[in-house]
């Protein structure tokens, strides 16, 4: 019963994981015999400006995404959780972007942010504002790429907060209200602490997701201008499949995995303490 899954996973999941670590100690162009070079690839990393820059770009991308997306999602969840009309319609509309094809979104965003003919600069023109060159400006390119991700996942993230909010017993707010606690006080003392499990899930999955951005960057900027949007994920793709440095790319892949594992562990430790209000 387990056989097909174990065999398949051994071949397409476990073997690749082992091989990528082994390859990271080799130099290989996909064709000739791999040459063992020990730790050379890892030693070269520090002096590789492009790779170091791509690591910086990755953190920049994640930091642009996560705070904005998380705060917006929480705000929307609070709004949808209030007593409002057409709640289901709003919820459905917010989740709509989640399943959109990122490649198509990349194409659409390129058009919206086109410096001359794009919707955004046309709109800014109405108010006499000169829009930036967006994707061809190395300062703006990364925030624009990040905005696709924020647009796509804010509503999706909202659903997890909404589920978390609905699990908080109403009695807690009633009791706090009787004791004269203000609304902001209730938010920081009841809502936020009790949302911790939802927050942990949201942060871990959205950070891992952000580290893996590929499609939108490939279509919108291909890592440019001047390498300003090449994330580590994209750099690994370029090293392996355009430069054909399979060994060096494998080293980068191991580094990426180590970074993700470390961040996930830190988040889990940070959120380990749970708040429990016993009102039985």
């Amino acid at each position: 019963m387990l056989a097909p899954s174990v065999l398949g996973c051994a071949l397409f999941l476990i073997a690749p994981l082992v091989v990528v670590v082994v390859l990271s100690f080799h130099e290989w162009n996909f064709l000739s015999d791999p040459e063992f070079v020990g730790l050379q690839n890892y030693r070269d990393l520090g002096g590789d400006e492009r790779a170091m820059r791509s690591i910086g770009n990755t953190f920049y991308y994640v930091l642009l995404n996560i705070p904005i997306q998380t705060v917006l999602a929480l705000l929307l969840a609070l709004a949808v959780n209030a007593k409002i009309k057409a709640r289901n319609a709003f919820r459905v509309i917010y989740v709509l972007p989640w399943m959109a094809m990122p490649v198509a979104l990349g194409v659409i965003w390129r058009w919206v942010f086109d410096p001359a003919n794009g919707a955004l600069n046309r709109f800014l023109d109405l108010f006499g504002v000169d829009g930036a060159a967006w994707l061809t400006d190395s300062t703006w390119a990364m925030p624009v790429v990040a905005s696709v991700n924020i647009w796509q996942y804010t509503g999706y993230t909202m659903l997890f907060f909404l589920a978390g909010l609905q699990a908080i017993p109403g009695q807690l707010y009633e009791a706090a209200g009787v004791d004269g606690a203000s609304k902001p006080y209730q938010f920081f003392k009841i809502t936020l602490p009790l949302l911790k499990p939802a927050m942990l899930f949201v942060l871990i999955t959205s950070v891992i997701g952000s580290f893996q951005v590929f499609d939108t960057i490939h279509v919108m900027t291909a890592g440019g201008p001047a390498g300003s949007t090449a994330t580590l994920n994209y750099q690994i793709y370029l090293e392996s499949f355009t430069q054909r440095n399979a060994g060096y790319a494998s080293m980068l892949a191991v580094v990426l995995f180590a970074v993700i594992a470390a961040i996930t562990l830190l988040q889990a430790l940070f959120f380990r303490k749970r708040t429990v209000y016993d009102f039985s």
């Binding site: 019963m1 387990l2 097909p4 899954s5 398949g8 996973c9 071949l11 397409f12 999941l13 073997a15 690749p16 994981l17 091989v19 990528v20 709004a79 409002i84 289901n88 709003f90 919820r91 459905v92 509309i93 709509l96 972007p97 989640w98 399943m99 094809m101 990122p102 490649v103 198509a104 979104l105 194409v107 659409i108 965003w109 390129r110 058009w111 919206v112 003919n117 919707a119 647009w151 509503g155 999706y156 997890f160 589920a163 899930f201 891992i208 893996q212 499609d215 490939h218 279509v219 994920n233 690994i236 793709y237 392996s240 790319a249 494998s250 892949a253 990426l256 995995f257 993700i260 996930t264």
Partner: protein, 272 residues
């Protein structure tokens, strides 16, 4: 009162931003090449044309791209459902040495991004002689990129089904596969629906793997087709936007048809 107005302003602003890009794209897809460049993007087309769609279907083998995407996404979804269900049952119900260790080993791989295993996976597919084939597109998705998640999702759900139901079926003479097919699967429809949706969407939208493993027109999927159009004609917005509209539309229709189920699905997928 002011609070209510602010609340609805926030809600409506969120809705406009969520739907805006879809509407702008659909709107632009019906404008001629000239009109896209001269008119305001939010103005409705003055002379709606269908030529952009005809051009995409005519200049490219777009029908083949769509067919390939459908074949691959359906094959991956079916493979996911069958193999995840079998493995999930083993992890949830069967007793064998090292079971929990093996299960947690699967779960640990959930943190592994697709790109990390990409070079070895490519090499394995190459050694199997499956480069530029449909099978080469499907296999790593079923067993590599998606399987641990599927097993996790279904196993957690199976755990919530009382064992006593199974015991009753066994006393009536049902074997393991009968129990799985007649008892567990019918009782797990919500989670299997969730898994089907997630598998289909992920495969349909993925660019990275097709980009690496396919090169001929015969195996090109939509994501690759659009990425290629974009790099060939990056200023010909009328073509790439019409193609994007066609790539987005099927999932929007699926979404609106099954919206209740999908919204609940996502919540289930985050269940721990």
């Amino acid at each position: 009162m002011v609070k209510r107005i602010l609340l609805y302003l926030l809600l409506v602003a969120g809705a406009v931003v969520s739907v805006g890009p879809y509407l702008l794209t659909l709107n632009a897809a019906f404008k001629s090449k000239q009109e896209i460049l001269t008119s305001a993007p939010w103005a409705p087309p003055e002379n709606p044309v269908l030529s952009n769609f005809a051009d995409v279907w005519g200049r490219y083998d777009f029908a083949t791209f769509v067919l390939n995407s459908v074949i691959v996404a359906v094959a991956v979804t079916l493979g996911q459902l069958v193999f995840s269900t079998l493995a999930a049952y083993a992890f949830a119900r069967l007793e064998f040495p090292g079971r929990d260790m093996l299960f947690w080993a699967y779960i640990a791989t959930l943190m592994v991004p697709q790109i990390v295993t990409l070079v070895p996976t490519f090499v394995i597919i190459r050694e199997l002689g499956l480069v530029d084939t449909h099978l080469g597109l499907v296999l790593p998705f079923v067993f590599g990129f998606l399987m641990p998640y599927g097993i996790f999702l279904v196993r957690q759900y199976f755990k919530t089904i009382p064992v006593s139901i199974e015991h009753a079926a066994r006393i009536d003479g049902a074997g393991t596969f009968t129990i799985l097919w007649r008892v567990m699967v019918p009782m797990s429809k919500p989670i299997l629906g969730t898994l089907a949706i997630i598998s289909f969407v992920n495969t349909w939208n993925n660019l990275l793997w097709p980009l690496i493993i396919t090169h001929s027109e015969a195996t090109r999927v939509i994501t690759r087709g659009i990425a290629q159009m974009q790099s060939q004609f990056n200023q010909e917005y009328h073509l790439v936007l019409a193609a994007s509209a066609m790539a987005l539309l099927p999932l929007v229709v699926v979404f609106l048809t099954f919206q209740r189920h999908i919204v609940r699905s996502i919540a289930l997928s985050g269940m721990k």
